[in-house]
C-alpha cells in the first residue's frame, strides 16, 4: 500500500533546532551591550524572516542574518571582534556532531527491508549531505533530496519523478507546515512526530484533523501504523 516513505531530516532523524537555540543564546550574550536578550533575538528573528526569500534556509543564511541584525542593533558600531565571534558561531554549527534520535535507527532498519526510503529536507545541500554522512544513516536511503521550499508543488514533483502515486506515499516529519500539510494536500499520507523545539516559522496555529494524518508521540510508533502490519 505504501511504496515510498520520505523522512524529513532535521529534528526528525536527528536534533537540529537545539543547536539554533544554543547559538542564539550565545549570540544574545555577544550582543548584550546592544540590547536585552529578548530585543536581540527579536531583531535576529525578524531579520531572518525578511531574508528568507533572498537567502533561503540553512546555517549560512542564518549566519548572514546574525551579522546583519548585529549591525542593525549596534547602529553599525559593532566592533570587528564581535563580528568575528558571530562568524565563529556559524562555523561551529556547521561542524556539530549529528546524533540520530531515539529509535530512529531501529525504525529505518525495519522499514528499509520492504520499502524504498528517501529524505526530503530544506537547507544547504552541502550541510545536509554532511549531516547525513555523520549520522551513519545514509545506507538506509536511496535518495537525499534537498529542496528550496517544501510546498505542494515540490512534493508533487518528487513523487512524479519517482513514479509514485500520492496514495502510495508517506511523509514523516516534525513540521506540520512543511512535512505534513502539503503532502495531505496532494493526496498522500503524513506521519507527524513533533520535536521538543519547533522553529516559530514552522508553527501551525490550528489543530489539524485528516483521515490520512497520523499523529505520533515517538518515531517508534511508525512501525505500528496499519501499512506495516
Amino acid at each position: 500500500m505504501i511504496d515510498l516513505i520520505a523522512f524529513d531530516a532535521d529534528d526528525t532523524l536527528w536534533g537540529n533546532e537545539n543547536y539554533f537555540y544554543q547559538t542564539q543564546n550565545e549570540y544574545a550574550q555577544i550582543l548584550s551591550d546592544y540590547g536585552c536578550k529578548e530585543a536581540v533575538l527579536e531583531r535576529l528573528h525578524s531579520t531572518e524572516i525578511k531574508n528568507l526569500k533572498l537567502y533561503g534556509y540553512g546555517i549560512k543564511s542564518y549566519t548572514l542574518s546574525m551579522i546583519e541584525a548585529a549591525l542593525s542593533l549596534s547602529f553599525r558600531e559593532i566592533p570587528g571582534e564581535l563580528v568575528a565571534k558571530i562568524l565563529a558561531l556559524g562555523a561551529k554549527m556547521l561542524t556539530e556532531p549529528v546524533q540520530p534520535m531515539n529509535h530512529v535507527q531501529h525504525v529505518l532498519e525495519n522499514l528499509s527491508q520492504n520499502h524504498d526510503l528517501i529524505t526530503i529536507t530544506k537547507g544547504d545541500l552541502l550541510d545536509q549531505n554532511r549531516k547525513m554522512k555523520k549520522s551513519g544513516l545514509a545506507r538506509y536511503f536511496s535518495d537525499v533530496i534537498v529542496v528550496s521550499e517544501k510546498d505542494d508543488e515540490a512534493y508533487q514533483q518528487i513523487i512524479q519523478g519517482k513514479n509514485i502515486k500520492p496514495e502510495n506515499f508517506l511523509m514523516v516529519g516534525n513540521s506540520m507546515k512543511s512535512d505534513i500539510l502539503p503532502v495531505l494536500n496532494i493526496g498522500g499520507y503524513g506521519a507527524y512526530v513533533p520535536y521538543k523545539y519547533t522553529w516559530d516559522h514552522e508553527h501551525v496555529a490550528e489543530p489539524v484533523e485528516h483521515e490520512k494524518l497520523f499523529e505520533l508521540k515517538d518515531m517508534k510508533e511508525i512501525l505500528d501504523l496499519k501499512f506495516f502490519n
Copy 2:
C-alpha cells in the same frame, strides 16, 4: 546515440563569473585602507579556498568569506559601516539579472526537440533555481540538479538515476575540471565551451586530448557535432 544532454549553468548558459569580477573590484575598493587591490584579493581568494569544505560554493559562502577576509586584513578593526557594505555586495549578486549567452536559446530550442536536457550545477539550490527562472530557459530542461561537488561519483549517480549509459551521455560546460574531465573519466562525452573568465579554482594546467572531448569556440557549434546531424 546521445540520450541525455546535461548543461552546466553558470558561465555556460548565462554569464556569472563577470559578477564575481565586478564584486571583487568593489570589495577591493571598500577595503582600500587595509591593503592594495592585489593584497586584498589574494586574502579573499585564500579565505574562499580555505572555506570551500566548510561552506561549499555559491554567493552566500562567498559573502561569508568576504567578511572573514575583511576582518583578517583589518586585524578586526574594520568598521561596521564597511561590513554592511560587504553584506550589501553579496545581496546585490543574489538579485542580478540573468541574461542567456549568445545562441544558447537557439541551441536549446533545437536540441530539446529530440533530446532530454538537464542542467547540473554547483552552488546554492535557491540561487540556481532563481537564475533558471529569471533566464527564461526553464522550459527546455526536464531537471535542474544541484550538487555539492562535480566529481566522477556525482555524474555516475546522476546518469544511473536516469538509467542512462555513459556512452549515451553528453555534458556541456565551461570548466574543464568540473564539467568535462569527470564525465570523460566515467565514459561519457564532453563538449567544452570556454568562457571569457575562468575562476582560478577551476583552471586545469595541462591541455587535454580525448576522443570523446569536443572543444568548441561557441555554444552554437554544438549543433554541428556528429550526434546531431
